[in-house]
């Protein structure tokens, strides 16, 4: 498998210009992940010439990191974080004044929870990216978290995951099993709550709405052409 991947790595120049429809390098990445992890790969997405997403089962999270590092040559650890897919329960309060004007006030229906690229079926999703510097491609890995918000630590795979997991732990409340010392990185030790969760209120916005409307400035070269119905397009 690794030799086949080496062949794929040499075609690094190909994706950018020509292969708009099919990106062989990145499709090859997905295929390698599938053959290495089997059914643990639950969702994939390729943006040709840009990015590759692979969603794995939570139990295969650490394994996926090992495969990416050892078989796909993604030795460079980019980042590890999480996404909270819950639509903001504060609705309009969290929107800007511009948003209020465009949508016409409080009657906008509440969003359904929707997950993004490569799918998902849980509120919290792990998000990590690794990169192969020699071949010039990266790989975004995702995994749905269970209700207990526990995942295997990546510290044994990528040493740099240490601080990123500490950040995800305090910001989202995700426990990384096997992390040597999960403790606060940014927040003071007595801080309660997990600020990057969608149901954690941003107090300054609750108290006073953002006066964003004053920021709308005309685009350069737009003055003489008028708006030409661009607002409707927006």
């Amino acid at each position: 498998l690794s030799s086949a991947e080496g062949g794929g790595a040499t075609t690094e120049e190909a994706p950018v210009e020509d292969a708009v429809e099919v990106d062989e390098t990145r499709e090859g990445l997905v295929a390698s992940m599938r053959s290495a992890l089997g059914d643990a790969v639950v969702g994939t997405h390729v943006a040709p010439g840009r990015e590759t997403w692979v969603r794995v089962g939570l139990s295969a999270w650490q394994e996926a990191g090992l495969v990416a590092r050892d078989q796909l040559g993604c030795a460079f650890f980019d980042f590890l974080s999480a996404i909270d897919w819950l639509p903001s329960p504060f609705g309009r309060d969290m929107d800007s004044q511009e948003d209020l004007i465009v949508h016409g006030g409080p009657d906008r229906q509440a969003d359904e929870m929707a997950t993004g690229v490569a799918g998902g079926d849980a509120r919290f999703q792990l998000l990590a990216r690794v990169h192969n510097p020699a071949a010039g491609y990266g790989l975004v890995l995702k995994a749905d978290l269970g209700d207990d918000l526990k995942a295997d630590s990546w510290v044994p795979v990528y040493a740099g995951a240490d601080w990123h997991e500490r950040e995800a732990w305090e910001m989202f409340g995700i426990t990384f099993v096997g992390h040597p010392h999960l403790r606060h990185l940014y927040l003071p030790g007595e801080f309660e709550g997990h600020p990057l969760r969608k149901d954690f209120p941003l107090l300054s916005r609750r108290v006073k709405p953002w006066p964003g409307i004053v920021d709308v400035e005309p685009m350069p070269g737009e003055e003489d052409e008028g708006t030409e119905g661009e607002d409707a397009e927006a």
């Binding site: 996404i83 800007s96 465009v102 740099g160 708006t227 397009e233």
Partner: protein, 389 residues
């Protein structure tokens, strides 16, 4: 055996000899606190080091004194407003912070900036690099007790800042990049001024080289100190000059020129095999030189045309996810933008270079001497805003 290797071995042998002495003298167990306010830590980074004699047993950086929660704040700002926030991440190279975010938003909107905007973007991107790293070159000297370089650096960085100010209106926070282009075109006469300043910055690099390289104290304090092998650097996610100083030939400008015209220019990526403090300084020095050449080429070939693509007045970004990473002054900086088709991003994950670059401190500080803590920190080169976000 190269000079550097011989010096490294001599250093290791000296450390081993000292360690034996320390065992006899029972010198373990002192804890020293550096910071959060310390002249040698640009900003409020606190480092707690546990010492055995003069050697560091354990170093623990403590950050968060400047945490501003930009990832949360981005969720309540419209896309054009986000650039105001992210200007303040790496405050010495502010314009460079805007570029990857704007590129990510453009990618989601399927908008491409006109060629002239892309070229001017790249000019300012490289100028941020010059302004940022020239200060590093001076500061590195200051950390070693050489005062002159830092004055030279502040003097000459001012020329670059003046250029940035004269076109963007802001010395530190330009807020000049827009989805689909730029706020304004260059003012009249700017190109000639810029070329003059670029020549001056090349002279500045020569001055720095004269002042520091070959200086006995500088060499002794940086050669073989804080060696980071390439595999460790990669697994910690070190990027930029820190990674290239460990011999990894990887530069996003060359290898992933997303929306920036680096592939049309003639320039070189500098690497150094040693991975020590000296290598990190040397690579950055070459990078400033190279950046001035890039700017010269960009200014010579600046295409004419509009500076703004057609974008709606109120920007709504279609649902989707995009990650764009660029080679910023401090290293690879990227924004993972999740959009749900709203005026505001649903989630923005900011991947800042210094965060990863400093997370290696506990590893690299093991076993070094106390004065080297300062030089290694300086050579890793971080901006607090880039760690704490």
């Amino acid at each position: 055996m190269t000079v550097a290797e011989r010096q490294q071995r001599a250093y290791v042998a000296a450390q081993a000899a000292d360690a034996r002495v320390n065992v006899e003298l029972e010198t373990g167990g002192m804890t020293l606190n550096l910071g959060p306010q310390h002249p040698a830590t640009h900003g409020t980074l606190r480092i707690v080091v546990r010492l055995d004699g003069e050697q560091v047993v354990e170093a623990e950086p403590i950050c968060g004194y400047m945490h501003r929660g930009y990832e949360k704040l981005c969720e309540v700002r419209t896309y054009p407003q986000v650039t105001t926030l992210i200007n303040r991440i790496d405050w010495l190279g502010s314009f460079a912070n805007e570029v990857p975010f704007i590129l990510a938003a453009e990618q989601l909107m399927e908008v491409e900036a006109p060629p002239r905007a892309q070229w001017i973007r790249t000019v300012l991107f490289e100028m941020s690099r010059i302004a940022n790293i020239s200060l590093f070159l001076g500061d590195m000297g200051a950390q070693l007790g050489a005062i002159t370089p830092v004055f030279f650096a502040f003097r000459d960085r001012e020329r670059v800042l003046n250029l940035i100010e004269s076109t963007t209106g802001g010395r530190f926070h330009p807020n000049y990049d827009r989805i689909g282009g730029l706020k304004d075109d260059l003012p009249a006469g700017w190109i000639e001024d810029a070329k003059g300043v670029m020549g001056r910055m090349r002279d500045f690099c020569d001055e720095m080289e004269d002042l520091l390289m070959g200086n006995e104290i500088f060499e002794a304090r940086t050669r073989g100190i804080g060696v980071i092998p390439s595999d460790v650097a990669l697994s910690y996610g070190l990027s930029g000059a820190n990674l290239r100083a460990s011999g990894v030939d990887w530069d996003l400008r060359r290898d992933q020129p997303v929306g920036l015209p680096y592939d049309q220019l003639d320039w070189k990526v500098w690497t150094h095999p040693d991975g020590d403090s000296f290598a990190r300084f040397w690579v950055r020095l070459q990078e400033v030189r190279e950046a001035t050449r890039i700017v010269d080429q960009l200014l010579d070939g600046l295409p004419s045309g509009p500076i703004m693509a057609k974008v709606p007045r109120i920007i709504k970004v279609p649902a989707g996810e995009a990650y764009v990473e660029t080679e910023n002054p401090l290293g690879a900086m990227g924004y993972y933008v999740v959009s749900k088709g709203d005026l505001v991003p649903f989630r923005v994950k900011i991947r800042s270079a210094s965060f990863n670059n400093i997370s290696i401190v506990p590893w690299v500080m093991k076993g070094v001497y106390v004065p080297d803590v300062i030089t290694i920190l300086a050579s890793l080169y971080f901006i607090l805003g880039d760690i704490d976000r």
